[in-house]
């Protein structure tokens, strides 16, 4: 049995209603997961609820992932503090494999890249700077690489993608740098069907 999960997705360009078809069984299990994450039984999730997931706590980008999650749940200008179930599923739906038949689907390539971009853009000003790369890289490698080497890697990363040489990466430059990457494989998780 299928039912359609209706959600409003206000994006800058596209104010349209997007619909994702989900299997009832999986929605029930997602709801069960939502409830088990909501340990205090508040009916919504806060950042620390997600940070308490053990596998996420071990992930070097755990806090960035949670931040991006809450940012995309609201509108991208101001991130949410609380996540209800609808918002929870909506963000997770971004990671569905891309459905090529639907043009305006939630899980298009751009939306997936948006999540990654927000993850790197620490101060949410729409640009990823050299400093922000250094912070991210540092959390990934810890003390295993010296500060000098870290600087070099961050410099090289910026150079490779910074087309207009303004010392920082915009969303367009980011998407361009990712052109060769197989986003479908890298950012899809098949759990809703």
């Amino acid at each position: 049995m299928q039912f359609l999960f209706d959600c409003d997705c206000t994006q800058e360009m596209n104010k349209s209603t997007n619909i994702i078809a989900v299997n009832r069984n999986q929605i029930v299990r997602l709801y069960s997961r939502f409830l088990s994450l909501d340990k205090k039984g508040q009916g919504f999730l806060e950042r620390e609820d997600l940070m308490n997931v053990p596998e996420l706590a071990v992930n070097p980008l755990g806090d960035r992932i949670v931040d991006a999650f809450f940012t995309l749940a609201g509108d991208e200008l101001e991130s949410e503090k609380r996540l209800n179930f609808r918002q929870f599923v909506r963000v997770l739906a971004f990671f569905q494999p891309i459905d090529r038949s639907k043009k305006n689907s939630l899980n298009g390539r751009t939306d997936k890249l948006k999540f990654a971009f927000i993850m790197y853009d620490l101060n949410k000003n729409g640009y990823i700077t050299r400093e922000e790369f250094k912070v991210i890289l540092n959390s990934m490698v810890g003390a295993n690489i010296t500060t000098d080497q870290l600087d070099k890697i961050a410099d090289r990363t910026i150079e490779e993608a910074d087309v207009d040489h303004d010392g920082r990466i915009s969303f367009d430059e980011f998407c361009k740098a990712m052109e060769k990457t197989d986003i479908e494989e890298k950012m899809s998780i098949r759990f809703l069907n």
Binding site: N25, Q26, V28, R29, L30, S32, R33, L37, L50, V53, P54, E55, L56, A57, V58, N59, P60, L61, G62, I65, A68, F69, L92, F95, F115, A116, M119, Y120, F133, I136, L137, M140, V141, G142, N144, I145, Q149, K152, I153, R156, T157, I158, E159, E160, A161, A177, M178, K180, T181, K186, M187, S188, I189, R190, F191
Partner: protein, 416 residues
């Protein structure tokens, strides 16, 4: 008057059920379908059913270190982006299903047995009446049965020590009867499926690990041949069970503390398992008890040989009682089991598996793990059970950072 009448009814029914149960088991019989019928009656009264909606969502997931392992190609910027995406993918996947602690928590139904979750008065009354019945009737009954079981165990162990020439058949009878008596004292209701795949000769029998009592659970279905147990010396209550139980069936002992011995122990087990006259060795490759929500990563140690492997899948229905061993010590766990309604476990024998030529032991181990997990309709965990400990998780986090930094090492050297 009424009170003494009630007391007599209580006392005599307790005695009756106790003695009938013991007699039935000693005569190789049982209560038949009656326990299951009582459980379905209980279901009707409570209006409850098994909650499969709480089962974890099934999808493939790699562990964090494997996830980033293929990201070491290309230029620095590409590498960093690729690793970032891999970490992101795993992060989102763990929000949907966390594989590190999935196997180690009580399902909500287990907690519901001790405290009523309902707001409805009638349901609450029913719950506490049930609790009263369990504590005042089922629990003393099981304590009686357990006491008898321990006497039986000691008695038969002594007989075995005095008469070393006892036939295999008699030893098997002792072992199976002890197992069945022990099972009934802990409130176990068992069903075995696909008996055509039950091991008939030597090899390695592998099962997922639910409880400390798994070996008695599995042993109770033996008919022609038993199992060889592998013992790890535990202290406390388990010690006599192991020491005496080890007399009733062949046992290979491993001291958990001796890590150096591990390789030689593995060789010993594999050699033993390849001899045709031995009982199949019963192994729990997960290494830890898990709660039946996932199958922990199998330790590859015993998968390198060429002996047949007999997988067993243990599944429990938790709404009557949860047999997952979460407590720190054995006695509180046993107590909790004895005051639940029943521990309902279904064991299915899966078809025999063998390592293919040139198949690596990790690959074969994963294959067997997947055979059991897909039968149980549960995720096959990419993590070892040791990660249930916070200290081990911290070590894993450091190991992950080292693995990531190794991707950048070659570039660093070449640029100096």
């Amino acid at each position: 008057m009424i009170l003494s009448l009630l007391y007599s009814i209580y006392y005599y029914s307790l005695l009756f059920i106790f003695s009938t149960t013991v007699l039935l088991i000693i005569c190789r019989s049982g209560w038949g379908p009656i326990p299951r019928l009582l459980l379905s009656l209980l279901d009707k009264i409570n209006g409850r059913k098994d909650v499969e909606e709480e089962a974890p969502i099934l999808f493939d997931k790699k562990n964090l270190i494997s996830e980033i392992s293929e990201d070491g190609e290309g230029k620095d910027g590409e590498k960093m982006m690729a690793i970032g995406l891999s970490l992101m993918k795993n992060g989102i996947a763990s929000i949907v299903r966390d594989d590190m602690m999935l196997g180690f928590r009580h399902p909500p139904s287990a907690l519901a047995l001790l405290k009523s979750k309902s707001n409805v008065l009638s349901k609450q009354i029913l719950h506490y009446l049930g609790l009263l019945f369990r504590v005042t009737f089922l629990f003393p009954l099981r304590v009686l049965l357990m006491t008898f079981t321990l006497f039986f165990l000691t008695g038969t162990a002594v007989i075995v020590l005095i008469h070393p020439g006892l036939s295999r058949k008699t030893m098997l009878y002792f072992g199976v009867t002890f197992a069945r008596l022990f099972n009934v004292s802990t409130g176990l209701i068992l069903d075995f499926y696909n008996k055509e795949h039950r091991p008939k000769s030597s090899g390695l029998a592998m099962a997922n690990h639910l409880t400390a009592n798994d070996i008695m659970t599995i042993y109770s279905d033996c008919e022609e041949i038993g199992y060889t147990a592998t013992g790890q010396s535990h202290g406390g209550f388990i010690y006599p069970l192991e020491a005496f139980g080890g007399k009733l069936t062949p046992t290979l002992w491993l001291d958990r503390a001796c890590n150096k011995d591990r390789a030689s122990f593995q060789k010993q087990v594999l050699d033993y398992a390849s001899q045709p006259s031995t009982y199949p060795v019963l192994i729990f490759p997960e290494g830890f008890c898990s709660n039946n929500q996932t199958v922990l990563q199998f330790r590859k140690g015993l998968f390198g040989g060429d002996v047949p492997i007999y997988p067993l899948a243990l599944k429990q229905l938790t709404r009557f009682g949860d047999s997952f061993w979460l407590e720190d010590t054995y006695l509180p766990y046993l107590l909790r089991c004895m005051i639940s309604w029943a521990l309902v476990i279904e064991i299915t024998y899966l078809p025999e598996m063998r390592r293919e030529e040139n198949e690596a032991s990790e690959v074969f181990a994963k294959r067997v793990q997947n055979a059991i997990s897909s039968f149980l309709e549960r995720p096959s965990s990419p993590y070892d059970g040791a990660l249930k400990r916070p200290a081990d998780r911290l070590l894993y986090a450091e190991k992950l950072k080292r693995a990531i930094s190794r991707h950048f090492e070659s570039q660093i050297d070449s640029s100096e």
